[in-house]
Subunit: 307 residues, 2 copies
């Protein structure tokens, strides 16, 4: 397999794009692809201050590296959730994130759950109904709250996450099986800023997981190699397996699934269901000041104040 650009030995073949590239040209191609989507979906500009939520894994560090390479103003946020499971998962992940930032002279904000809220995520989750069995739902709530808090307090105009195409396609498939119109109207590359919320963007939304992994490896980024110990057996991983199966038989199916969904949204499928977002602008949690739909304490404050 030869690089389409220069004819030297290719390091990656992407049947979905009918494209093979050598290391040099792959490391040009992926940032160019990402930049195209940043412009296409009007994610941000040079003047924006971007907070990149990093987990220490391949996707978020690849994204931060790439945005830094492209010359955007970025700072990182790492949340230490206190997940251990015998592999010191959170601690090691944080070390990868910190080493990455230090190597590049970039600023990383670290929020430690135990220091701030006296409990690890699994401890918080164990106290709740929604956290029984698996803490993933509580984890989402906690991360959303903290990321939002930091992005608003720090006056970042944009919050970027490393969700890749495989993530988005798996979530889209799960939401489609439920035909949840609320979720289907919101699974977009950009969620616009609202009072109390920074704009949320996913620059890798059309980048395959193996493409961002290849970028990390070829750029020499050292990242946390393990999946979160709670991810095993999750619905998302399950659907990813099926999507990978389809991709093997029908190259490009993941990209078409997601891209055609975005076109369907533009064409008026799922007329916007913005009621809850509109509500969010008017009511604040009396405890933390973040927007809430209930008028009372937000779900995060209810969680941490119950201990």
């Amino acid at each position: 397999m030869r690089c389409r650009t220069c004819g030297s030995k290719a390091v990656i073949n992407m049947p979905q794009h009918h494209l093979a590239l050598c290391k040099e040209h792959y490391l040009e191609w992926l940032p160019a692809q990402t930049q195209r989507d940043i412009v296409k979906f009007k994610m941000f500009e040079r003047s924006d201050r971007i907070l990149v939520a990093v987990s220490g894994g391949k996707d978020s560090l690849a994204l931060w590296d790439l945005l830094w390479q492209l010359g955007y103003q970025t700072e990182g946020l790492y949340i230490n959730l206190g997940i251990d499971s015998g592999i010191a998962y959170s601690q090691r992940s944080g070390e990868f994130a910190q080493a990455f930032a230090s190597d590049r002279g970039l600023k990383l904000i670290t929020i430690d759950l135990v220091s701030n809220y006296r409990e690890t995520l699994p401890q918080m989750a164990a106290r709740t109904q929604r956290g029984r069995g698996k803490p993933c739902s509580v984890c989402g709530l906690v991360k959303r709250h903290i990321i939002n808090h930091v992005s608003v307090q720090g006056n970042y105009s944009v919050l970027a996450t490393g969700h890749n195409l495989d993530d988005e396609a798996a979530i889209l498939l799960a939401n489609t099986l439920d035909w949840s119109l609320e979720h289907l109207s919101r699974s977009q590359p950009v969620l616009q800023a609202a009072p109390g919320f920074a704009r949320k963007v996913k620059p890798f939304c059309r980048i395959y997981e193996r493409e961002s992994a290849a970028y990390s490896i070829l750029r020499g980024i050292t990242f946390m190699p393990d999946e979160c110990p709670y991810a095993f057996g999750s619905k998302q991983l399950y659907f990813k397996t099926h999507l990978n199966d389809w991709e093997g038989k029908m190259p490009g199916v993941k990209l078409r699934f997601y891209t055609n969904y975005l076109e369907a949204l533009d064409a008026g499928a799922f007329p916007a269901r913005q009621e809850s977002i509109a509500k969010l602008g008017t009511q604040r949690c009396p405890s933390c000041g973040q927007p809430t739909t209930t008028g009372g304490q937000c779900a995060f404050c209810l969680l941490v104040n119950k201990s």
Copy 2:
């Protein structure tokens, strides 16, 4: 496993409904379920003359039997497509359909492709671009045309097909992966009559394939046991396999997928794209008189007149 109604030995367990039933109560339950959907989706009434399209397989014969049991006015239509593939597929299928009708004193109309159009389906398909490799697309075109012709000529108010939930969910999944709004707005249990078209209904749209198969077997219906030789390797069978995999892990997922889709349609997703149907009312094929979108000969007449 015991029958929920009478406590005797169950012959079928349906985890998706948390229900096990004996033969007697299953043969009451399935018609009652189907009748509920006939009413819910306003498919037809006692006064309607219903043409049931039968293939000789388990679904269409189960449907015809069940509608006959329920006291509806039904006649059958079998199209002999001349598919052989060494197993005399069409001939044998037709014999099952004819035996079924004769046993019950029901009228079966048989249309023979070779007698009427001088060619078998595989011969027709081999002459066309869309039939290269597999004749399935041409088969759909031919069957739609003939079914439509017979239903209009015979003044049937309703055309019923044996599509079951597994068929509908697999088609829905394929259409969703493409986000084809035209198809997504039309995958409904009822397509209303339009000038030149009878109302089309799918009374088994929420009946699992194994439920209709069990009905056929328990009612002693003898049906064509083989799949169409061209079905192997089709996308629809491929997606059925995945849906069955999901169903095993998440009982009821097929039914929720399809039912929630119908609710999403009702809630305004996929605003109706009726342009092509509206057009159909105004233009007729000069050769056969059936509605067409092009103004010229319809696709069927182009196909058969080209030989």
